[in-house]
Amino acid sequence: MKRSLVQYTGLMGVLLLLIIIFSLRSENFLRIATLITIANQIPDLTLVAVGMTLVLIVGGIDLAVGSVLALSSAVMGVLMVKTGWSVWPAGMAAILTGLTCGLCSGFVSVGFRIPSFIVTLGMLEIARGITKLVTNSQTQYIGSAVEFIGEPLPVILLSPAFLVAAAAVVAGQFLLSRTVFGRYCVAIGTNSEAVRMAGIRTAPPAIAVFAVSGFLCGLAGIAQTARLSSADPNAAVGLELSAIAACVIGGTSLNGGRGSVISSFLGVLIISVLQTGLAQLGVSDANKQITTGAVIIVAVMLDAIRTRRVHRK
């Protein structure tokens, strides 16, 4: 158990360092209000990053997350606005939408041995297209019926969406480190042929991670709909890159076999603290992008150096 805590100290250190820097530069930063802002911004990215971590660990990649999120959100919005469904069944429909998309990607990629990069790139376009079809390319305004999901609860000051995301992080880490499924995922990402020769079918877990990723995109779609009070067909464009960045900052290997859901969550926190902090300092969008990009590269560089040192021992 101690060993696993040590692996987070580097990321925690970076996070703390960022918080200290921003607190020194801006007196508004270290306030409850800021923390609440951050906590209520991150549920969608967190949910997506948990799924992405699992997909990356088996050696795949899911580029469709942003589009699938938008499609789930659109399904929910259309059902509530046009058909008059209430929030819970519409939410279930959003989750099912995400799950279906993920299952499709997984089946095609694993079943036909097509790199998931290509399959999910296709799914990215398809899901976005369907989103525009079902919404008629118009934002579906829902209003207060969904807003409660993204609003802070009394006393704990955290939103239900954040709590769900936090639960997903805990569940994801548990799945990865304590279950046979998680063990298979790491093993397949490390050396899928060795797993096959050990007498294990690699296809079911390899497909399942895409289903999990799709399911979490559905949840993230609900979170985003709640935050925006509406379903925006152009929502979450480019979210896949933020999610991959969070995973990579957390030390997940793009070659598969290595990663941790908690580390990815710390990656999400680092990205959002950085963005909130820079925004508070009044840094321009251009400079914000440059800084975020540099942080991603430096984080991965440090990780590469660390891995090389471990290998040399």
Binding site: T179, V186, E193, A194, R196, A198
Partner: protein, 528 residues
Amino acid sequence: MTTAEPVLLDVRNISRTFGAVTVLDSCCLQIAAGEIHALLGANGAGKSTLVSIIAGLIPPTVGEMTLSGQLYAPRDKQAAEHLGVQIVQQELNLIPTLTVAENLQLNRLPHRWGIVNRRELHERARAALNRFHLHDIPTDLPLGQLGIGHRQLIEIAAALDRQCRLLILDEPTAALTAGESETLFAHLKHLKTEGVGIIYISHRLDEVAAISDRVSILRDGRVVNSGPANELNAEEMVLRMSDVRQSSSKSDGAKSSVTDRAAMTVAHLSCGPVRDVSFTVYQGERLGIAGLVGSGRTELLRAIFGADTMEAGEVILPERPARRYQHPSDAASDGIAMLTEDRKANGLLLPSAIRSNISLSSISRQFSRFGLIRQQQEDDAAETIVHQLDIRCTGIQQPAEQLSGGNQQKVVMGRWLVRDADVFLLDEPTRGIDVAARRQIHLLLQSLAQTGKALVIVSSDTSELLEICDRILVMSGGQLTDEIRRPESRGTGLPPDRASDWTEDRINRAAFQRPQRQTLVPTGKASS
């Protein structure tokens, strides 16, 4: 040793070690200009290492060479080619996406200011191909669209197209048809008259007798014989390749525990190079499979295990219907285990802990409940295996990649011991392992046999098979060509062979035997 022709290449006391293993031990070899010099030897005798040194691919550890009287120490392949030494290796060095013409002249494309002169490229390629009677191969065809035999010919044509004084061919005819081989021989004879020296490695003894002028035989990294080809017949060549000291006397480490209960029967199996192989392995038996590299031994094991799909045939286990496994998981559930040849490529999860490597095959059925890992049980099982197999490590959390080869192999063995199987398929279980670990693996195999497990052991080390097995099958060209029994073995209901037949010599003879042609047609197809 002296011939009328001047000495072209003189190899003096070349040795080569890899780590603690000596592959070549003071080798001497003289190649005359205008001679075809055959290099023979069993698996691992050092032939490929020797020619790799001559071609500049690897440097010798000790020793020197001269080429036409000049000191010759090529820094790399390019340097050797520059001095007129060309090698055509067993594995093809061609790029499948480029055209035939481009492959033929890859490092000397005709160009002006960096722009390739297409017409000259194709004209030159055409000429090179025509010289080889390959009129029907278009020069602008991507190489990947050609069959393996044609690719081999093009590789040879590419080597012959360059100016060379010494040409090395490492098993050039392995993928060629008889007609293609004839074309190659005609060409080699022509080169000979131009004064080119040729080193020719082949396992086909009839070929060697037909085309070579002199023969050198390697055994355990030493040149044991060098002389005119017509002084030796095929029988004598095989005898000299075999270590005469390895004979029936070496049987102490192997108390037989063979029973007469069949553990697995393989019937008419065909898959890739494997053609119509049938055999039965009995409980408590250690059955060796000998043969040259490429004779289909690995493919046989992979097909039984379901790693490759069988084209014909079936696997029959006692009290179970005959099966043709589609996936290793099916074979594993029926109690078959397989240790792969290359433990790093497809055996171990290198960066993962010893613990997860050991539990991999059994975690879902033994160390989990409702999909949750039962950590304590898993740890206990891993600790037990580490202790039982004497795996030298800092603990069960240590990554497998940090272990020595022998300990890595024990980890993979341990995986199947935990899973528990009735039939073990072991592909080169002691390759690249030090002597002590090898001994431990042998003892482990023996104790497995004593508990009634059936073991099928593939090894390129014939003396190892003679030492540990109860019975040995020999493969050649995808077929079984011989079967020998340990003299004292009893119980299988068949009379034991004469003691004198439990020898490396007999195995080598069968391994070098050309299989009968007519059985190349898969016979099992009709029954399926």
